[in-house]
Structure formats: structure tokens, C-alpha cells
Symmetry: C2
Subunit: 229 residues, 2 copies
DNA sequence: GTATTTTTATGATATAAGTCAGATACACCA
DNA sequence: TGGTGTATCTGACTTATATCATAAAAATAC
């Protein structure tokens, strides 16, 4: 898969994959490519919506804030993922912030062009609808977890989900090294309790740690933690 | 499920409103109407997905379960609302249960027909996509609330949302009398804490109670509770 | 190569919310 | 009409998780 100079290969993202070929020139003309380094923000909660982004390389966290100190990470995005689609709706502002975790290159489409693309390309619209539907299912599952599952189970759930999404590297570790704080924010707990629970999981030989990296040692038992007693 | 003679008016639900007129005969031919009484289940979490429902009259709660005892109410549906759309996605089973709270009449479409309707009617598809997008936004807001907002704030948030959705009756009370247990399940707390917090809100003159019914007495202060300190 | 910030680590303590147990009121229906 | 279940109420007690404080280690900057 050869990349062009700008970064987009016109094949990875949903828009490129699902639009009819007659629309490709429009895409090439409209897309804007950016490179962002760690810590940069694609957009901030409350910003007016200007469009959607597709991640070509790198990793991004999508998070909502609560006061100055607290956040909840709603989703991690990796290459190929769409970011900013949460801005589409009745409100004209992003309900989340998108922050780069690993240096990223992105492809950007103005909202108007993206919406035009949807109307012109049935398949794209259908996939977007299904994508939202799946995200909604996942969101509501996590919502129930937050309401009823103890922190330990939520960590187990998160680790399994992260493993499924990012895969494993050579050592068998989840191929995504996130800070303990980010893991905590993702499961909706404080840094300290997350840390302690992680220790418990190590004691019980359910996971293995190597620096920041985490490997799943006993998937069966980990999964057990995600089930209601 | 009892067949309902009256059926729908071909005007209230999204399908009837947004499909091209050429599709109307198909709708009339395919739709099935049912009447359900309080306590009946449209479908249960884990059931294979057979289609989507539109509520013509009555009220329904959509809830996820955790073990035998605990549940989280994901959404309340009233006349005109779609129910069962959460079944659309990769999985072939409903991720939620739908239980009738107030006797309901519904309009049912087989999944296959509904999907055909989407493909044939752009406007319907677009609206469904936007609907999912809005639901996702709301879900993630509630998710953050569960993670970081205290129970009292979550009650305030819930009451304001219910007032907006169901409106007020003559006395100014929210036009939807739900049990304390259902309110608790909706905000993701136990019956007891919900009850106690409700009492605090009465003490502070933020709400007024009349039997099951609840009225908002001080919207400003109630809203204040939903903000981060 | 040292300074300074950020992340990781760990114990002590506080508290919000859950659990348990029981009483009272209310609705339904046989 | 009474009876049996279901919803509401209330206090005492427990616990999971947050908060606070502080230090070591690692990363980043200067």
C-alpha cells in the first residue's frame, strides 16, 4: 500500500473506500492533510464543528471533561478510524476533545463536503449509520458497566477491548502503551484505584506488566471478572 | 402480543414520515400492529433481532441488565419513538430489553423490510443516521455523568431530561409517573440513595412531590447541580 | 549533565453510596 | 372484604472508591 506524498493512499478511510469512483476527484480536491505531534488537539470540547478527520497514522484519544481535573476517555482511535463524527448532530459544537497520543497524520474533510459525500454515496451513508449504531451499543454497554461493574471488572473489560482493537506485539503485550492515568480515565476511575487494581490482577496472575506495557496472561479469568456475579 | 385493529395513522413514525410516497403501499402491506399491556416485553436482551418497533401510544423502558437484580435504564420511549433500533449492528441479538410501562400500541417492521426501506429512502436513512448520532452523544454524556457526577446531580440531570422529553401536566408535574425504582435504575443508583437524594431536593425546595409525580420548583438551582464544581 | 516536570508508586484517611433489615402504606384480585 | 404482593419509606451499618499526602523514578527540557 503505497502512500502518496501527503499521507493519504485514497484507500484506507471510509470515505475513500465507499465512495463511487466518480466522486474520487472531488475527494482528492477537498481533502486536507495534516501532521500532528503528541499532545496536539484536533479539536476541543465546545469548539464549533468544522468537519471530520480520518486518522492515517498515529493514535488519538477522544475524551469528555468534567471540571478542570477529571475526564472520561470515550474512545481511542487508531489508523483508519474516523474522528470528529461525534460533532454531527443537532448541536454545532464538538461534545468531546480529540488529543493526539502518538504522532498522527490525518485527513480532514469540511463538514459540508462530508455531508455532500454522504448524500451522494449511499454505501458510505449506510456504513456511517451502522458505525454509529455499533458505537451506541458499545457506549451503552460501558454505561451499564460504569453503573454496576466494580472497577476491577471494568479494567478487565478495558484490557480485553484494547487487546482486540490494537492487537499484540511480539512479546504478546497489547500494542498500545497508554499512561496509567489514561487507562484510569478510560475506565472511569482514579489513577490510584486503577493502579491498585492492576496490582491485584498481577498478583492473581491474570496480567503481566513490562514497564507501561500490559499483557493478558489469563484471558478466561479476566473475562470472568466482566460478568455479573 | 395482541393484534391491534386501529393501527397507525401512517403519519407519526419516521418510516411513514420520511419514505417516498411510492413506498407507502409497501409499508401498509408490511407493517404489523400490536397492543401490549403494562409489564409486557417487546423483546428481551439476548433475543435474536427480528425487527424494529414504532410506538404509537404508551410508554416503554429500554434497559440493560447486570445479574439478576440490577438494571440500567438506557432510555424511555414515548409515542412516535422508535424502539429496537439498537438491535441493528453486527450482532444479531438485542443488547437491551424493552418493557411496557404504560399500555402501548406499536407498529412493527421486519428487519429485512426496514433495511430495504432504508436503502430505498435516502431521507429515512439520513434521519436514522442522525438519530443514532444524537443518541450516541447523549449516551456518552450520561456515561461521563455516571463516572464523575454525584448521584444528586444525576437525579437533577434526569429530572430535567424527563421534563424536556415528556413535558408537564396541568399541575406542572412531569407528565410521566415512573416508579422510584425505575428512576433509580435510570440514573444508575440504588433505590435507597435515590430516595434519600430526592428528599434532600425537596428539603432544598428544588422539587415538589405529589405522590409519584415530580415537579421542578427551581430549575436554575437544579441545573447548577448538573455542572462540575 | 543537571534541572524540572511528569509519571509512577504507596500508605493513611475520608466519604459517598451500597447493603441489610424492617416497617408502613398501597394496589390489586379472588 | 380481606389477603397477598408490590412499592414506599427509614435507620444502622458496611464497603468500595475517592481523596490527600508524599516520595521515588522516569522522561523532558535546558
Amino acid at each position: 500500500m503505497k502512500k502518496d506524498k501527503q499521507g493519504c493512499d485514497l484507500q484506507t478511510c471510509l470515505v475513500c473506500k465507499l465512495c463511487v469512483k466518480e466522486w474520487k476527484p472531488a475527494i482528492t480536491h477537498e481533502r486536507k492533510n495534516f501532521a500532528l505531534k503528541k499532545g496536539a488537539e484536533l479539536f476541543k470540547e465546545g469548539d464549533p464543528v468544522n468537519g471530520v478527520y480520518f486518522l492515517h497514522t498515529g493514535k488519538v484519544k477522544v475524551h469528555k471533561h468534567w471540571g478542570e481535573e477529571k475526564e472520561l476517555i470515550v474512545r481511542f482511535a487508531k489508523a483508519g478510524d474516523i474522528v470528529g463524527h461525534r460533532g454531527i448532530g443537532t448541536e454545532l459544537v464538538y461534545p468531546v476533545t480529540a488529543t493526539v497520543l502518538e504522532a498522527a497524520t490525518v485527513c480532514f474533510f469540511e463538514l459540508e463536503f462530508f455531508q455532500a459525500s454522504l448524500k451522494v454515496n449511499q454505501d458510505l451513508m449506510y456504513e456511517m449509520m451502522m458505525f454509529y449504531a455499533r458505537e451506541l451499543q458499545e457506549s451503552e454497554k460501558r454505561m451499564r458497566n460504569l453503573a454496576h461493574m466494580p472497577v476491577k471488572g471494568r479494567i478487565a473489560y478495558a484490557l480485553l477491548a484494547l487487546r482486540d482493537k490494537f492487537g499484540r506485539n511480539e512479546g504478546g503485550f497489547i500494542d498500545f502503551s497508554l499512561s496509567r492515568q489514561d487507562l484510569a480515565s478510560y475506565i472511569g476511575a482514579t489513577y490510584e484505584t486503577t493502579f491498585r487494581m492492576l496490582n491485584e490482577l498481577i498478583q492473581e496472575n491474570l496480567i503481566i506488566l513490562s514497564g507501561k506495557d500490559i499483557a493478558i496472561a489469563n484471558e478466561e479469568k479476566l473475562r470472568q471478572l466482566t460478568l455479573a456475579g
